[in-house]
Amino acid sequence: MTKIRRVRRASSAQLPASFRDPSGFLFRQNDTIYRQVNLVYKDDYDHLMDSGLYQALVGDNLLVPHEEVGIEPPVPEIAYKIIRPEVIPFISYPYEWCFSQLRDAALTTLKIQRKALDFGMSLRDSSAYNIQFKNGRPIFIDTLSFGKYREGQPWVAYRQFCQHFLAPLALMGYKDIRLSQLLCIYIDGLPLDLTGCLLPWRTRLRFSLLSHIHLHARSQKHFADKPVNVGQQRMSRYAFLGILNSLESTVKKLKWQRGGTEWADYYQDTNYSPQAFEHKKTIVAGFLDKVRPATVWDLGANVGVFSRLASDRGIPTVSFDVDPAAVEKNYLDYIARGDTNILPLVIDLTNPSPGIGWENKERMSLKERGPADAVLALALVHHLAISNNVPLSRIAGFLSDISHWLIIEFIPKTDSQVQRLLATREDIFPDYTRQAFEQEFSRYFTIDNSADIRESQRTLYLMHRVQR
């Protein structure tokens, strides 16, 4: 009874995403995240630390480093050790990644698995949620995913790899980039039979996709209700490496070509002059220098031109856009530049990521991951107010929930970009005026500064949230 009570008490601090694996769990204490390693995982943990695998992975920036600490375990009866993993500045999820981010996460998982085999270990799971982006690159965060490898043992995480990585990548590459959103519905990866139905027939002509997706789905269906002793199935190391090679080459061959979606060439399609553009940059940079925020969220960032103003100042910046093509370009550009402070993500602000999974708590909603110290909302309000009919007061309310400081641009109805949005619909927005904008935002924010952008009708504001 005492034990049950203790477990229950401990679970109040236990993070809601960490309950499946009996090897340990994450918990929060005094605003720091720790991981309890349970006795049942002792042998594997010791092997990870003593075999040299941990050092090799951390040395290659593939695994998040941790420190062993001497604090009281929340559930001491089953505890072996407590570790404090290095903090990931912003948690993101696979349904928010662009094609190349998911592809890089898949390749990182395979690289880790290959390295683990060299040290006599193997990944016990290959969930895409085990990967996060730190300093711009994918990194594995689940220290307890490694189990000792025994000769002849197949890869237990093969199904999960196909469902979490291969299936969404194949659908994005062969069918439509927007199908990544299926990952938000299916928390344990895409069902392979569904993936098989959606993929074009020609994917059956490629051995890798035929075997890892189509035949895999048929095999799952065939053996679904048949009791087979999986432990009887043996696979030599040669075959194991063959599977890893095959998965790696399949992932590498999957490509997505940018098809010129709506906003992909947005910055070549602006209605203001290069002088106005430069002036806008100078004003935003000036506001950032004045505020010096600890973190920045750039909402509606497109390819991240203005996010770069923040990231170049060493500020960790998350760069959101609804267009997967813009996010893809943003990601590839910052990789090429070697930028480490920017994280581009696909987010539809009219329907931001919800809390999903068990009790709606396993994966956090966008709002739960805030507030950011400063939010950039440039050329955004007219999209929300006119294309999505959100009243200005509710835009101000939402932005005040997710930011301390706000750098926001107002574009009047007379601007040709707004006219373009109104071209296909009736103007039912008599309240969309600069005066109404200032009035509504003043209910939630204090306007510290405003500046008109040269050679345009646009205005930039610097505001801070009113204390509640």
Binding site: L215, Q220, Y238
Partner: protein, 100 residues
Amino acid sequence: MNRLKHLGVTLAVVISLFLIFSQTVYASIDAGTFDQAARAYYIDPGTGSIIIQVLIGAFVGGLALIGVYRMRVKNFLTNLFTGRKQDKESDENKESEESE
């Protein structure tokens, strides 16, 4: 000449098939060392997924093995040929040195 070619192709196919299927044979030799009871996996690996994985593994692992063996045979033959040639050359050199 044609008969020789056919024989070569048939031999290659037979060897390939042997190597592919022998993978499962190799693997089954390891059966004694695999202690299933001790490994309690917290995720369901999926019966169908394990079975298809073992089959694909046998196939791609077999292909990789063929690649390795092909290289070995090729290297062996190349060494044999160039080795003989070198031997021949060194013999000739010796002879010419002696005649001088």
